[in-house]
Amino acid sequence: MKELFSWLLEYGPFSVFALAAVGGAVAVVLTQNVVRMAFWLIISLGAVAGLFFSLNADFVGSAQLLIYVGGTLVLLIFGVMLTASGPFAVKSNSGQLVPAAIAGALLLAVIVYTAYQVSWEDQSSFDPRGAVIHGHNSPQDGNTTRPLGQSFLGARPDKDLGRKDGGLTPGYLLPFEIISVHLLVVLVGAAYLARTKKRKA
């Protein structure tokens, strides 16, 4: 009974979020209606944010909600606004099916291969419950959001100060920029999709 309960507590939320993430993604592919696609995308991306939260990665989870789910919102607005005539359906011909399936399978292979390359045993010794320490992130400890901002700008004083060989640790400037550009890509993609559909109609 006790084992069952702790098993449930460990895998229950994970299963719910994982199922929603995968199920939502499949539903996006199978739906024809733009707005319903956006809805399933929200479910899928929101569930991924839930997975981040359950791993105690609060910042990444919040960023996921703000950037990706918010990006979906922009996509949705453009989908509705620019394709406003008639039902908002996206029809794909069967010729696209094969290249799409190949691209999807390749991506899945990359992800599965990467997942099996990681040695998860090393990671499991980390106890996330102990990592949250009350009052430790307070300003008087000097442990504030500033290191986070600095590492986003490419500087890692937490790693580089007092380093013997005088080398520099790379920060998160590049990933940060990539995330920023993602929203622009979403916008351009939405406009492109909407324009091509309009020409056909």
Binding site: F5, L9, L65, V80, N137, P139, T145, R146
Partner: protein, 424 residues
């Protein structure tokens, strides 16, 4: 975990009562969820009654007077019973699945913001280090439900309302976040509890009085927050005079009421953020907290049960009452504004945001980063009030000291010790 009953938090308290860690965690999570959902359900009941009363008084009427005795205070309950009895309509032209689901989406987004709202020192469901960021991320999701409701209703009025809401909220999110950054920049933390703790003492310690930029940022934030929860004069999404009822034209019964529960919940949520960021959180501003902690911390230790301190509990309960009172006052101001000012046009709403509020908030953000440097040049201190920089302001040992006596196993470890244990 929060510190609701005992000094060490519910989960630790239960673990000491010989419960397994998993069960204690689950029970603690359940208690938090139930408490928050009850506040989320009861607050709209009160606010809708208050809205009717305020509207009545401002329009020289009495408002509700009959249901439930003298002041009509059961009016909302009667409304709720009426709404449950109504037929749950779904139009022929609607996208049925999205039409049925979107009220829940709005509801969930509004409710999730309460997870990181600090009710009192340590009374918080999840004490996230990125609390402010999480709050804004979650509250920005509410608009998705409104747009989906507007689209899926299959009605032109609803679609117009939804699109207006999208344009309005997406633009108003930017000055709202920039204004929230102003006090965050001063304090250097996104943790809601830490922001509240730094404002202990006299009301001159409140962030709103810290410097002129924070002072104006509060008013800009409150204006923008009123717009982002689509309250009049910014309620273009439901503009009765032009769009029938906007995005919820086709809704009836209990689903319609979910939208309003979410709206009144969000009104308190944005007021709560304003209270924590600018108005001292759960602190009275009279400087009695430090005194109360000194007097009451050691009083009634382990009184009814092992691990419970009566004095701590009284201090925190008082803080919770102060916090809710401040939040309710700000909600009252939103109602007062609603029944005083006429509704803007949609172009005026967008112009007010993009031409005025956004540049002003950017200027305030720039100013607050330069302020400490400028003040230091003239006074030799980084702030006008107080001699210590904000980060060094005395945070009373809050119950950390007394908690160590009560629950030595859970509390006496220093952060460094805990860290090394985690690593080993």
């Amino acid at each position: 975990m929060n510190v609701l009953f005992a000094s060490g938090g519910i989960a630790e308290f239960l673990t000491e009562k010989k419960l397994s860690a998993e069960l204690a965690f689950a029970i603690a999570a359940l208690i938090h969820a139930v408490l928050i959902i009850h506040f989320f359900a009861v607050a709209p009941l009160f606010y809708i009654w208050l809205e009717r009363k305020v509207a009545g008084r401002i329009q020289d009427r009495l408002g509700p007077t009959r249901v439930g005795g003298k002041f009509g205070w059961l009016q909302t309950l009667a409304d709720g019973i009426k709404l449950i009895q109504k037929e749950d309509l779904c139009p022929q032209a609607a996208d049925k699945m999205l039409f049925r689901l979107s009220p829940y989406l709005v509801f969930v987004a509004s409710f999730a913001a309460f997870i990181v709202l600090p009710w009192s020192d340590g009374w918080i469901a999840q004490d996230l280090d990125v609390g402010v960021f999480f709050m804004f991320a979650v509250m920005s999701l509410e608009v998705i439900g409104v747009i989906l409701a507007g689209y899926s209703s299959g009605s032109k009025w609803a679609l117009f309302g939804g699109m207006r809401e999208a344009a309005q909220v997406v633009s108003y999110e930017i000055p709202m976040a920039v204004c929230a950054l102003v006090p965050v920049t001063v304090l250097g933390t996104l943790n809601m509890s830490e922001i509240g703790r730094a404002q202990i003492g006299l009301f001159s310690n409140w962030m709103v009085f810290h410097d002129p930029f924070c002072f104006f940022a509060f008013f800009i934030y409150f204006t923008v927050a009123t717009a982002s929860v689509k309250r009049a004069p910014f309620d273009l999404a439901e503009a009765e005079s032009e769009l029938v009822a906007g995005f919820h034209t086709e809704y009836s019964g209990i689903r319609w009421s979910y939208f309003f529960m979410a709206e009144y919940g969000s009104m308190f949520a944005v007021s709560g953020i304003a209270t924590v960021l600018f108005l001292g959180g759960w602190n009275t501003g009279l400087g009695i907290e430090e005194w109360a902690h000194g007097k009451l911390d050691g009083w009634g230790v382990n009184f009814p049960v092992q691990g419970f301190v009566v004095g701590d509990y009284i201090v925190r309960l008082f803080g919770c009452v102060v916090f809710i009172t401040k939040g309710c006052l700000l909600v009252f101001v939103q109602m007062w504004v609603r029944w005083t000012l006429p509704r803007l046009r949609i172009d005026q709403v967008m112009m007010a945001c993009l031409k005025y509020l956004l540049p002003i908030s950017c200027f305030l953000f720039l100013g607050v980063t330069i302020w400490p440097l400028a003040v230091y040049q003239f006074t030799g201190k980084t702030g006008l009030v107080g001699n210590e920089p904000l980060g060094k302001r005395t945070v009373p040992p809050v119950l950390r000291g007394s908690a160590a006596e009560v629950a030595p196993a859970a509390q006496s470890k220093s952060p460094a010790q805990l860290k090394s244990e985690v690593r080993s």
